[in-house]
Amino acid sequence: MTSDASPQSIQSAKAAVESLAAVLGGGALPDTLASGDDPAAALLHDGGVARAVVGRLRGAGSGVGNDGLCRWLYDAFQSNLPELQLAVLRFVPALAGVYMSRAVSRKQLAGFEAVLLALYAHAAAQRGAGEPETVALPNLANPSVYHDAKVPPKTKAAELDVAVLSPALEPHGTMRATRRARIVGAVLELYHGKLALMPISSKLDFCEFCVAWAGNRSKLDDKPRIAAPASSEPDGGGAAAATEEKWRRVPLPWELFQPAMRIVAHCLLGPTGSDELKAQAARAAECLYWRAAETMDARALLATRSLVRLSQMMEEPIPEPSFSGGVENMAELEAMRANILSTKN
């Protein structure tokens, strides 16, 4: 991660850290942050920064038009430095989570919207105008690198079905309520693309919001509980003591449901190795399942049911080596063993 950052980009990252420190107020950030070798990576991974920023994002009154933190996120993303953009994407879960929950109440959230629209525009530009993201469904009648097909080579390749994974991203200059889900969904897709680089705390944030979005309904815990006790520990800044806000359930059309589900799937079954994350993701997957059941949305039901089932399955272990045949020369070995072990230490 500390790869080939040019001095100039380090300089910009340093400036970004300094301006963030100014936004968050004195003492919110560790002093060492800006002086490190790779301030952008520190922004992405530092737990103190995350707590301070997320705490502020969740705090009351965040996301309004003159929110300095949103301004900072916007500027940092528009700097076009990949490292800084990653650091901004790290906060997508909190940003999208708080925004969606509050937007339902139709609060003025121009600050959040500016950042989200910037991210959306970036996603649209990255994809290319009017291009949907498609998946060609393989047909086993055609050979592939992984298998041979018995068809004579002369026959034409069997036709492939093409599925649309994500429809084309139309340009949007403002956040209209009916397009909100699509815009946030596209931002989540952008986040999903960088998930492998995101710290676990960011993913945990997302799972938590996902539960709230879906409506807190999990058979694991009978009582609907108020989300967000996890990260509201005494935060480093102390400035924004997050007042407990109940995150509202939000409309989840497929365009938002699908990317959210993909992120949850990553947290649940991806190579993260964190049990805490897996547990949170399992909860989120279950909540999504019950949410899908409410409208009997078949594809969402099928997908989330599979996720829930997979989370309950044991992963097939890699077979342990078999030791057939006893070892000969036992005596010699015993002799050598003492020898080797004694020389080692």
């Binding site: 469904l137 086993l140 050979p143 599925a163 649309v164 009916t178 998930l195 099928l302 002799a335």
Partner: protein, 714 residues
Amino acid sequence: MASEAEEGGEVHTTEMTTDDSPPSIVEEKEEKVVSTEGEIVKTSDGNAQESGSSSLPEGLSLNYEEARALLGRLEFQKGNVEAALCVFDGIDLQAAIQRFQPSLADKTPSKKGQPKSESPRSGTQNPATLVLEAIYLKSLSLQKLGKSTVTNKILVKHAEAANQCKSVLDSVESMFQNGPPNIEQKLQETVNKSVELLPEAWKQAGSHQEALASYRCALLSQWNLDEECCTRIQKRFAAFLLYSSVEGSPPNLASQVEGSFVPKNNIEEAILLLMIVLKKWYQGKTHWDPSVMEHLTYALSLCDQPYVLAKHIEEVLPGIYPRTERWYTLALCYYAVGQKEDALNFLRKSLNKHENPNDIMALLLATKICSEERHLSSEGVEYARRAIIHTKSSDAHMKSMGLHFLGNCLGKKSKIVSSDHQRSLLQSETLKSFTESIALDRHNPDLIFDMGVEYAEQRNMNAALRCAKEFIDATGGSVSKGWRLLALVLSAQQRYPEAEVATNAALDETAKWDQGSLLSLKAKLKVAQSSPMEAVEAYRALLALVQAQKNSSGSCKANVEDDSVSEFEIWQGLANLYSGLSYWRDADICLQKARALKSYSAATLHAEGYMLEAREQNKEALAAYVNAFSIELEHVPSKVAIGALLCKQGPKYLPAARCFLSDALRIEPTNRMAWLHLGKVHKNDGRIADAADCFQASVMLEESDPVESFKSLS
């Protein structure tokens, strides 16, 4: 120095064996010689390396590396991972490999026609095998240790594990550069295990790109893996591709046959692999693993391809899934592609009393499907009741879902029953089950919406208005149909300016592309307010939008279809507008346009009849109306028009007129024009009291008539 010379000697012997390959007996002898020679060499070599420390007797049959390998293996077997690691650490793989290379390579030529898996030194193993296995075990130990470590050294441990594992494979690869890898059994086993371990180790080390590469390498290189091992790797790779979110480049295209499938992205590659694994299972080459189907279900549902999924589930051999479960899954798939009848047939089988009649999810799905079709609504009511009875009382959520769908079915059913009494009974039952459902789950906006529509259809506009507002609050105004319900309810209350405000608010919240239905609503509101010029303006905007959509639909497919207004409807609306203003020529032009788009339409014929009637061409008008309802049997406006026309024709026709009007009211009890004309019929027939009732009904309905039927909402 000494070792170099000896190695030279060894190479020499190798060459000799290569020279006289045919006689096998000689060869075996030779080999024995070679191997014993090799041993001696190694023993001395080991001693040289470990200068001084060796107190081992000369002539020992094990060398230093081998000994460590064996010893480490023992420790590993006992579970002393750390001790094993200690021992393994002393092995210098590179040096060992360099020495072993010839001793392994010499077997390659001697292979032909002879089962060579029994190595001459059948008791002990080939030293290379032993050492390679040791390194493999070393990486496995590192991995295990990594798992149990809590510190942030985990990644380091795993990375080391991966590197060790990789070195095993690299060594094997370099040893068998020439000639096909024909390896003795034990070594092959080590190779298999290492190939399998490597990507996992990379994965755990957080090096996802390396993991991706090593997965591909495992599957695409000639490792001679056994089927089970290969399948396991394919499964894990597929899962990795699906869930890791690693942006990987597609596999190398160097060796692609023409016409072969080349996955372009991770999901395509994952689906391909999963399909291959499934096929292997169909062919009996591997055991069943339920996770494969779950991964595939996830992947295909993600791409919204339930039909393909259904095909795969149908292919699964019997005995894997309980059939009711399979039927339920298939029903989900077919329902998702819109084949409701097929889906319902599967559920009917599954919910049969001999199968699994009380499966809640299947019952709920069946209810949901039935609630969407009028003719199935009675069946749906049965399913819903069963679901509600069998839901545990603690499970409020499920119960609420059941009641919600029950309400939908009852509402649909109330529209097809023939008697007024039954209808009002069903209507009150509908509202009751919605109310109960809401009591259990106050947060489901869809429920609130359905209830609002039901209230509106029952002409309880105040309650409907409350629901519409609540729905908009619950969804933050993000769902277009909420706005439309609000506007329609307001229009039904004759609050046109407010309805317009609501429509404009909705237009503000809607992207240009999806404004169709709102613009059409706006036009109708303008008509209702008797501002025809503004209505024409609204229609013009709508027409421009539809044309723009048509032009662009060439490039971006049919995703604008669902919520948009068709051009036909616009011309039809304009024709109605002009004919209402008695602009017959304009109306005619619009009708022609409409007819050009849709030749046989009840609405067009009805408008035509209306124009003819206005010009006193009663006979032709009647013909047009009759044609209209023969195209669409339940076309209410034409029935009403016929009734009205006949009523004017004199007392002889009154019974016929009454018949048509009653029929219209059967289909649409809230049609105020039908009530009005029925009143006229009664009046002309001398039944004044009946006439008064009908007129009263008509007046009441007029006060709650929306500009567009509420049916257009759902």
